[in-house]
């Protein structure tokens, strides 16, 4: 049973954490894509930006959360969401909108978003340096160890506070997004614009406002994902670069422009990544005696070494691009 607990800790929970981060990121990317039709490369840096704002605010008021009984970073998250949304709208106004109105090809805006990525990275490192730091400044990360009943296993299930927060947030965000897109006027207008931007204009929908709301959503989700990831691990300015590929892979796997697909894609990529670096020999050990003498279980039975983790999302991406470029779910092609 210890092995199973190990599997749950190292594979199921880790996969859910990675999957949640990728899902939230991919939803942001996919929303921006479905409204403005370009792959927004600077999304991951908006995550870092959001987390950085949380860090600064937490450093300024380290005890604020304790008064309410929640971690201070969580208290600061709404402010960071606001700041990131404002940043996203500002970037759009300054850099993307003029290009869009000039009628350039989408790929030119993609290049501009790479330029924005560099600018953000430069600024973030200029102010925050390159070292990584913990978001828990005066508090400590709560770690929950759940002992299994009886003598089933001597090891406990381990889950940390930020992991629980992240998973809860993901569920709430998915639910909220669903309601927003299907029940509100603005949400429906977003779907309409994603479906047929010309007809949306003809119907009298204020497309500029839709664009703005999209950036607000993307900014909020980015700030949240960045903060939860930094809470779970630590805040490092390099964060974004390693998130970029899995997030885009998730968005494409789910079919760009489909928010629900992006969520599924995020968890698919997250679990694929976790399970392929998971050492499966641990699970085989209890049934070792079933194997013949000569068949020794290797000590390491993972699909790829952890150093090649980055290959997994790329591999999935390429397979999906070959096999079904519009994503694993059937649906519209943009």
């Amino acid at each position: 049973m210890n092995e199973l607990v190990f599997f749950i800790n190292k594979a199921l929970i880790s996969g859910a954490v990675a999957g949640s981060i990728y899902a939230i990121g991919a939803v942001g990317v996919t929303l921006v894509f479905s409204i403005m039709r370009f792959a927004h490369f600077a999304h991951a840096d908006q995550m870092t930006f959001g987390a950085l704002i949380v860090f600064f605010l937490t450093a300024l008021f380290p005890g604020a959360g304790a008064a309410l009984g929640i971690p201070t970073p969580l208290l600061m998250l709404p402010l960071a969401m606001l700041a990131t949304s404002v940043l996203a709208i500002g970037i759009d106004k300054a850099f993307y909108k003029p290009l869009r109105e000039h009628g350039v090809k989408p790929i030119v805006i993609v290049i501009a978003s790479l330029g924005v990525t560099l600018m953000l990275q430069g600024i973030i490192r200029l102010f925050a340096g390159t070292s990584s730091r913990s978001l828990y400044i005066e508090e400590s990360k709560a770690i929950f160890r759940l002992d299994l009943p009886g003598d089933l296993a001597s090891r406990p299930l381990v889950i940390t506070e930020p992991q629980i927060l992240l998973i809860v947030f993901t569920i709430l965000a998915v639910f909220g997004l669903h309601l927003f897109l299907n029940r509100t006027r603005m949400g429906k207008a977003m779907r309409a614009m994603s479906d047929n931007p010309d007809l949306a204009r003809v119907s009298g929908i204020d497309t500029n406002k839709v664009v703005m709301v999209t950036w607000v959503l993307a900014g909020c989700l980015a700030a949240a994902a960045g903060t939860f990831l930094s809470l779970d691990v630590s805040l490092s300015p390099d964060l974004s670069f390693f998130l970029l590929l899995p997030i885009f892979a998730a968005a494409i796997v789910g079919g760009v422009g489909h928010p629900y697909g992006a969520i599924a894609g995020g968890f698919l990529v997250g679990y694929a990544e976790t399970l392929s670096v998971f050492n499966w020999s641990v699970l085989l050990r209890p049934i070792n005696h079933w194997f013949p003498e000569w068949m020794e279980i290797p000590r390491n039975l993972s699909l790829v070494g952890t150093e090649y983790k980055i290959v997994v999302p790329f591999f999935i991406l390429v397979v999906v691009l070959i096999w079904r470029p519009t994503g694993i779910f059937k649906g519209k092609v943009i």
Partner: protein, 234 residues
């Protein structure tokens, strides 16, 4: 004062003028039909009226007020509706959501108008929860028309509403257009099925190479041997 009065309209895409001085006038009780060969600029004219193509010469007036180069959402507020030639629905949204989008600028009217449109196009009521992209061609056209009617426009522009429809559906659509017109909505439409369209037209415009070739009543155009020979297939 006509409802819509376009005089010597010039305009086109990216600096190239497709329209080279087109005149058109429509009144509240009119059904205007634009016919002409492919590439004549019929769709471009409708788009120019609806602010989707830049107008760089002449003027377009709605009830005497210039509307040239106004943004489409302003025109919707002024009581105009436009049904593009193709891609005129939101395919992944349900029928009802398509209609709701039509009333985007008048959210408080949505419920009342939905009832009205469902009364006008009963098949849509049955399919209200179905994605519009899954409907048949004729029903899609109903969704497209319903969407444009949600704001109760006083002037409706339609680009080839019967393209690709079976004759049965075509007649149905034309009947509906007449009905809409009877209810006090000026109609201006482009049609490939020129003969049938001119039958219901009070005004006909023959366009070629971005210019007016003939302008007359629908009846007269139908009976004009020149027009019949060149544009109505003999």
């Amino acid at each position: 004062m006509s409802l819509l009065n376009a005089t010597q309209v010039e305009g086109g895409y990216g600096g190239m003028n497709i329209l080279k001085g087109v005149d058109m006038a429509i009144d509240k009780e009119d059904i205007g039909v634009i016919v002409g060969p492919n590439g004549a600029g019929k769709s471009t004219m409708l788009k120019a009226i609806f602010g989707l193509v830049e107008v760089n010469g002449g003027d377009i007036q709605l009830r005497g007020q210039s509307i040239a180069n106004l943004a489409p959402n302003k025109l919707v507020e002024l009581g105009m509706g436009f049904i593009p030639q193709e891609k005129n629905i939101f395919p992944s949204m349900t029928v009802e959501e398509n209609l709701e989008m039509g009333a985007y600028i008048k959210p408080q009217e949505t419920a009342r108008m939905l009832e009205k449109i469902y009364g006008f196009f009963p098949p849509l009521k049955e399919k209200r929860k179905q994605p519009a992209g899954e409907l048949s061609g004729g029903q899609r056209q109903m969704v497209a028309m319903g969407r444009a009617l949600m704001t109760e426009p006083t002037l409706l522009l339609l680009d080839e509403p019967t393209a690709g429809l079976s004759p049965l559906y075509m007649q149905e659509i034309f009947d509906r257009i007449v009905e809409i017109n009877k209810a006090g909505v000026g109609v201006l439409m482009v049609e490939q099925n020129a003969k049938q369209a001119l039958e219901i037209a009070t005004k006909g415009f023959v366009l070629a190479s971005g210019q007016n070739l003939y302008t007359d009543s629908g009846h007269n155009l139908l009976n004009d041997p020149e027009v019949a020979k060149s544009f109505l297939g003999g």
